[in-house]
């Protein structure tokens, strides 16, 4: 619980000081949507090491952290570059045995977060019966029974990240954070974590939040730091502001499995986030926004 009236705004450059080496960090977003990529880049610039990253459906965020040797452990239910292939650096580090990992079932991870958010040591559910995954992790999954009917259920242990980093559309200085498009696991990661860092497309005054309170998915009392990071999910999407930058993702995927990734990471390290935006978005940002506008629904079935 943080003071609801505090001004929690810090610059992106302060992020490294908020996330110690070795911390477990839940990263929001899912698929190619709304990963907190400005924060990912900043953790690389800050030289963080041995982070235990937690993702439900990770993509370029996890692969870039693996490429930059930031990770000490990876907990995930999926990591993929989808149309651009498997995630080369996550693959390489797991296959070579250098990155310890925990593969969750997707629902199991979310229920572990839910348990922590509700102050429970575990939650039961009708689990992934028949899957080989639970037996791999007796410290996470166990068999339990309904106390009333005896039905066999899966218990999943509460999952408490040291830090959750999520990217919102807008946020005020108190940390009242709003989403309009994909929020994925963001809110439930935040509720489970000891500390919450919100990056956002823009910091706004409280009255802007109050105008549309139904969009506030994370009230400020959960939040410890607020960081303004325009295009902070790039090259993943932030609906309704911009679509995924498939061209930058393809560029990344082309280099990620080769020696060129060393230079790619070195460039991220050596430039500021302002430099990054200028380099990849000049003359392109408006088209990434237009991709959202031109996306079409089809006539004929809006009953």
């Amino acid at each position: 619980m943080t003071s609801p009236s505090a001004d929690k705004v810090v610059p992106l450059q302060a992020l490294g000081g908020l996330v110690p080496d070795g911390a477990s960090v839940a990263f929001g977003g899912g698929w190619f949507a709304n990963h907190p990529m400005a924060a990912v880049r900043q953790l690389i610039r800050a030289g963080r090491k041995d982070l235990h990253a937690i993702t439900v459906v990770g993509s370029v965020d996890m692969d870039l952290l693996a490429a930059a040797d930031v990770l000490g452990h990876l907990s995930f239910s999926m990591v993929t570059l989808e149309a651009f292939g498997l995630a080369p650096n996550v693959r390489r580090t797991i296959e070579s045995g250098t990155l310890p990992f925990t593969e969750y079932t997707g629902l199991g991870m979310l229920i572990g977060l839910e348990a922590q958010g509700r102050g429970m040591p575990f939650l039961p559910y009708r689990g992934p019966f028949g899957s080989d995954l639970p037996a791999r992790y007796p410290e996470i999954y166990a068999t339990t029974n309904c106390p009333f009917t005896g039905e066999e259920l899966t218990a999943v242990r509460a999952l408490q990240p040291d830090v959750a980093i999520v990217h919102a559309l807008r946020c005020d200085a108190e940390g009242n954070a709003q989403w309009d498009g994909t929020s994925g696991p963001d809110v439930d990661m935040a509720k489970a974590a000891k500390r919450v860092i919100v990056t956002c497309e823009e910091i706004v005054d409280r009255p802007v939040i109050v105008e549309n309170p139904h969009m506030t998915k994370l009230p400020g009392y959960y939040v410890h730091a607020v960081i303004e990071a325009p295009f902070g999910a790039h090259p993943t999407s932030h609906i309704p502001r911009y679509a995924m930058d498939a061209w930058q993702l393809m560029d990344y995927a082309g280099q990620a499995g080769t020696d060129a990734i060393t230079d790619y990471v070195a460039r991220i390290r050596s430039e500021s986030e302002d430099d990054y935006r200028a380099r990849v978005l000049t003359g392109r940002g408006d088209v990434l926004a237009a991709l959202v506008d031109v996306a079409e629904t089809l006539e004929g079935a809006n009953l």
Binding site: I94, E95, L298
Partner: protein, 283 residues
């Protein structure tokens, strides 16, 4: 009969399974599954209830790699997050028709999206199953689709069970608190169905021109082959027109049927078309 490609036949066959009962969460942008749901919604199942990304109760959308997510929100009636979706759809038994693909699939209805080789020291670390580990068990119908029907993918036993249908027959599913419904496999050669725990998959139909023996030879698990195997219904001219002009004008579904250099070039050409359409509105 309009000429068609096999991926179009697969879309129409998967679409035929999509009905108006229950809710389907589509998750990441998988073009063949998305196209099938959209086709169903524009034809026989307009009330099919879909969730894509965090958009719940979607309108049908035009497919594109960069625009599918934005389009999903435009006609949707509700915006949730992942946890609300799994609690409100999957775990509460509202799941309708789940379409998945996987690196390996076996005759028990198990999928492997985890590893080739030892789990701790994999030869190939696969992406992981996300919600599929639980969801393929829970949904009323499980559809598994594969663009390359091969005994390397359709194996006797998966190397690692990421998730499985678990209970298959209607009665055993009911007893386990699950909705009864079959496993349907749609490939580039045939349609396979399993609806009993102790019976193998049977060939429901072969696609036009496919010899059932070729299906058997390319399947790693036992198949029940009826004495007279029907032929899969071909796409109609209307379905093809909807797919080509409305649902998937950029050709995203075909992408997953290409390999190697051709695949990358094809992706670049689609993305180029998507970029130009957007750019034209701001330049």
């Amino acid at each position: 009969m309009t000429a068609y490609d096999v991926h179009e036949l697969m879309v129409t066959r998967v679409a035929a399974e999509v009905d108006e009962d229950g809710v389907t969460v589509m998750g990441s942008f998988t073009p063949l599954a998305y196209a099938s749901y959209m086709l169903a919604k524009l034809t026989h199942a307009p009330r099919a209830y879909l969730a894509g990304f965090d958009a719940v109760g979607m309108s049908p959308i035009q497919l594109s790699f960069t625009g599918a997510e934005a389009a999903a929100y435009k006609g949707a009636v509700c915006r949730w997050g992942m946890l609300t979706e799994i609690n409100s759809i999957h775990l509460s038994n509202h799941g309708g028709v789940e379409a998945v693909s996987s690196a390996q699939f076996d005759g028990d209805g198990a999928i492997n999206l985890s590893t080739i080789g030892p789990f701790d020291k994999p030869k190939v670390r696969l992406p992981g199953g996300a919600g599929a580990a639980e969801v393929i068990k829970m949904y009323r119908k499980m559809i598994a689709y594969f663009g390359n029907h091969s005994s390397r993918t359709l194996v006797d036993k998966v190397e690692f069970v990421t998730g499985t249908r678990w209970k298959v027959g209607a009665e055993s599913r009911r007893q386990a608190g699950l909705q009864p419904g079959p496993i349907i496999v749609v490939t580039n050669l045939a349609v396979l169905v399993k609806d009993e725990d102790d019976q193998p998959f049977r060939i429901e139909s072969v696609h036009p021109g496919v010899d059932p023996q070729v299906v058997v030879d390319n399947t790693g698990f036992a198949l029940d082959v009826p004495s007279d195997v029907p032929v899969t219904a071909e796409p109609t001219a209307k379905q093809l027109e909807l797919l080509r002009t409305k649902i998937d004008p950029f050709g995203t579904v075909k992408f997953d049927f290409l390999s190697g250099k051709e695949r990358l070039q094809y992706l670049e050409s689609i993305l180029d078309a998507e970029w130009k359409r957007a750019e034209a509105t701001v330049r």
